[in-house]
């Protein structure tokens, strides 16, 4: 295996593959940083340009775009509170707070370094443990998926802070919004009011842009926060090596969580980011700083997000099954290049597989260089006069929401979610639980019903893993709530 990997690295360290990696990372970062464009859209847009390339170069380019785009979402999350992907919501919670405190450079630095390190770790897990991990992933029963989603939802208790009632309300609102659309099991339209555009529910990206970016603009205008950030406030703000070293455990843990959860088809980076953030907070010596601009919080979210890229590649390469929207596009790209992903590809074209592995390792290093260099540029966004910035964010929100499905309906929804977010923010309702409910609601419901259809209600107790995970999920939800209630009573 090592021989193959070294040979793969040798293949990648040539001018053309290196150029493909650098170009892919650059394009990916730009796609990810543009609200409305997801990593899967970025990869799909570039597929036609790979027709004339060799399969190796084409896949290296597309995988590099995937890595770059997965990171790119954090840039706008940190600088303007516009997470490009649901998983970047967690990055925004502390990252944008750091920007408001004049620590944007630190947040950007941490996010890129942790992303790159977690990406490398996730790739190493992919290389050495993909087969056993894939075997575990396929055996995961819907009862266990349900428990995993519940685990994700249980993080609300941590996100809640002092306003746990409001956090629950926000989460249940997200869960209820999530029920709008076609019922995944019976196929019936639920609460769509005969609006065709609602048959798949609300598109997540316009909702994200509205809830976070627009509501931030609205709140700032209401509070007339037009004071420009002083350039001096940014000077010398980049983290030093010792700062990254301090985050080593969080990075390692979040990378592992991201990779493992990313392996499960349909679970993905969002659950990974929330669970990783929750765990980091619980194990932290300074849990009270989470949500207030914690560096550990940014690292926990970004590490899991980047680690999940390697995880999602596990079912793709070992089983030929897409683990995420982007890997579904990668399967299509492989088919265009007459490759059938799956175990036989390891035997028929090992040089290609190990070339991809090597490209992922080198790609993450390239991300580090490009991200740190680009960070100097991104951080300038915070120096833009606020009146201009707010206007440009509103323009970006409109075109970003429209670009998702070329739909003015989505733009209206984005504006609606913006107003909702502003009102919720105004009265101290946290916004992340709304997104958590919107993302995890369908995973929880579908797998709950699917599990019962397959093996009856007793399956949640008869499968030990499901039972243990459920108990842990319930405990992780109840313990913080009970401790807060007890604290309130003592006070």
């Amino acid at each position: 295996m090592l021989e193959l990997l070294l040979s793969g690295i040798g293949t990648v360290m040539a001018p053309v593959p290196l150029l493909a990696i650098v170009a892919g990372i650059l394009l990916g970062v730009m796609v990810g940083a543009m609200p409305g464009l997801s990593p899967s859209m970025g990869v799909a847009l570039l597929v036609p340009f790979t027709y004339g390339m060799s399969p190796m170069i084409a896949l290296i380019l597309l995988v590099a775009i995937y890595i770059g785009a997965s990171y790119g979402g954090s840039i706008t999350a940190i600088t303007i509170n516009a997470p490009g992907t649901p998983s970047a919501v967690v990055t925004a919670m502390d990252g944008y707070r750091m920007t408001c405190q004049g620590r944007a450079a630190r947040a950007l630095g941490i996010s890129v370094v942790v992303s790159a390190v977690a990406g490398v770790l996730g790739t190493l897990v992919l290389i050495f443990l993909s087969v056993p991990l894939a075997a575990i992933a396929v055996g995961f029963h819907p009862a266990e998926y349900f428990a995993m989603a519940l685990f994700g939802l249980a993080t609300i208790a941590s996100l809640a802070g002092a306003n746990w009632m409001k956090a629950f309300l926000a989460a249940v609102l997200g869960l209820l919004i999530n029920t709008i659309g076609t019922d995944p099991i019976s196929g019936a339209d639920r609460f769509t009011f005969n609006v065709t555009r609602l048959s798949d529910g609300f598109a997540l990206i316009p909702a994200l842009i509205g809830l976070f970016a627009l509501s931030e603009v609205f709140s700032s205008i209401e509070e007339r926060k037009f004071k420009a950030t002083s350039p001096a406030a940014l000077g010398g703000g980049w983290p030093r090596l010792v700062d990254y070293w301090r985050l080593k455990m969080v990075t390692l843990r979040s990378a592992i969580i991201g990779t493992i959860i990313g392996v499960f088809p349909g679970a993905g980076a969002t659950i990974a980011s929330f669970i990783s953030y929750d765990l980091a907070r619980r194990l932290s010596r300074e849990p009270e700083r989470y949500g207030q601009g914690s560096e550990e919080g940014v690292a926990a979210a970004e590490g899991a997000n980047s680690g999940s890229v390697g995880g999602a590649m596990v079912p793709l390469l070992t089983l030929g099954i897409p683990g995420s929207a982007t890997t579904a596009v990668l399967i299509g790209a492989m088919m265009i290049h007459k490759l059938t992903p799956g175990p036989q590809l390891f035997l028929s074209s090992p040089e290609l597989i190990y070339g991809i592995f090597a490209a992922m390792l080198v790609g993450n290093l390239a991300l580090l260089v490009i991200g740190l260099a680009g960070g100097r540029l991104w951080v300038q966004v915070t120096l833009v006069p606020k009146k201009v910035l707010f206007t440009m964010v509103s323009m970006m929100a409109v075109i970003g929401a429209y670009a998702v499905r070329n739909s003015m309906f989505d733009v209206l929804c984005c504006l609606g979610f913006g107003i909702l977010g502003w009102v919720l923010r105004r009265y101290d309702y946290p916004l992340a639980p709304v997104i958590l409910g919107m993302v995890l609601g369908s995973i929880a419901e579908t797998n709950f019903r699917r599990a019962i259809m397959m093996d009856g209600g007793s399956v949640f107790f008869s499968r030990p893993l499901a039972a243990i995970m459920l108990v842990l999920a319930v405990l992780s939800f109840l313990l913080p709530v009970l401790s807060r209630l007890r604290g309130a009573r003592v006070a």
Partner: protein, 524 residues
Amino acid sequence: MPISPIKTMALGLMMLGAVPAFAQAPPAALPDAGDFPRQPIRIIVYTSPGGLIDFTARRFAEIARRHAPEQPFIVINRPGGGGIVAFEEVLQQPADGHHMLAVTRSNISKMVATGRDDLIERIDWHSYIMENPHVVITNSARGAGSWDEVYREALAAGDRQLWLGADIGGVKHVSGVKIARAAGIDMRWIPYSSGGEAMAALLGNLGTVYLGNPRDALASPDLRVVAVAGPERLSAFPDAPTFAELGIPGLENEHIWRGFAFRQGMPEEVRDWYTALIRKVTSDPDWIAGWANEAVVLGYRSSEEFGRMVARDQAEFAFYLREMGLLREPGSRETLLAGIGEAPAVHFLQALLVILNVVLALALLRSSFRHRFGELMILSVVTSLAIVFYAMSSALPPPNPVDRVGASGIPRLWIALLLPLALWQTWLILRQKKDPMHKKKPLLLFGFLGFMSCYVLLIPILGYLLASLVYLPGILWYLKYRKPVMIGALTAGWLLFSWFVFQETLFVDLPRGALLPALMRGLG
């Protein structure tokens, strides 16, 4: 495990087998269609990127560019409603042939299931290009390795044999029901969000059968095709018998087809241009070779034959979906509101709640709680919405012995959680006498919101670029940013950026607006 030499040979043979379909040589050049195409041709795909139809459209676009180099072919994904969103979008465009739809048999089942047969009737089903039969795939390493074993297990399991697949009421679900009936067994269909997830579950031995496309079985050596729902064996899987060979007739046409369609009313010369182009592409050696590993049956059928296939499928899906209880027929379900008519009752409830919220808003503005106006109104609106959802949920499919939770179960659970939380929160607010935190002055914001709302509403009328040209300097001026040169530069920069990046590079069709074309028509 590499594909065995037999499989490789068989795939080659299958490729050759496709050749007779193109025995009649395609025209040497595309017929003259006047100045068509005048703009890039957009191939609308009804799914997100990834998946077989998306891949089909992208491969078609790639080869079509070589045969018709005048204009680019652009693949655009318009997911939503199983194709309804994509169909509606094409039907809103002029019937000039610049928007083509990549269609599959799944669209027919979805339109029928949702009562949108009108969309089927308004489409020009232009060209059928390929199909693949549905195949029964098992996990031979851990479960049944032949149809006979599947059959015997089904007899022992009663209705508890699990068949995994995508989409409820979709093509494969209907085929699964037909196969089970024809074989005289019961099965329980477990719908997954995607074929990939269902296959993963099969590999994890969570079900007995996965009903899918033949190419799905190429992913893992553990997967085995045990029966083919087609007229003959597949050359890629020569050991897999057809159902007819297994003594189960009537399952020769369980397949998924793919093709291209347009809005009806396209000029005849453009139709002929497309006929020639599609035949050229589907006869292209690269097209044929590109499908060699995918276990599909290539072919070309004209619009008459394709239209007849669609009509037959429409009737068949209507029959089976009705039998399966998945056809949406108003008034067919017992509901809480059945006595007074479900739709009028919900409309009455909605109107009542709107009036109550307006009255509450007016009352709050005059009360001592006006500093919490926004929060109380949000709680009131959310509570009202939950009540409306509860009333509407009574019309959803009720729980049944297999899906014991039903479509309404989970929404009702969330509603049951939401209502007490909202009431409790309201109680907490009412107990607070005064909150000095919210003495904000939102007038500037309301102006900004008004500007932005007008901008969003003006885009469909003026078009994106023109509306932005008005909005951007206007809103900066409103926010008291008084640097005319900067405002001009920002506006010009943004318009160029959005046009070049979104319209030209990412092929996002920015709205052109209804006003200018109407004016041009008026002047012309």
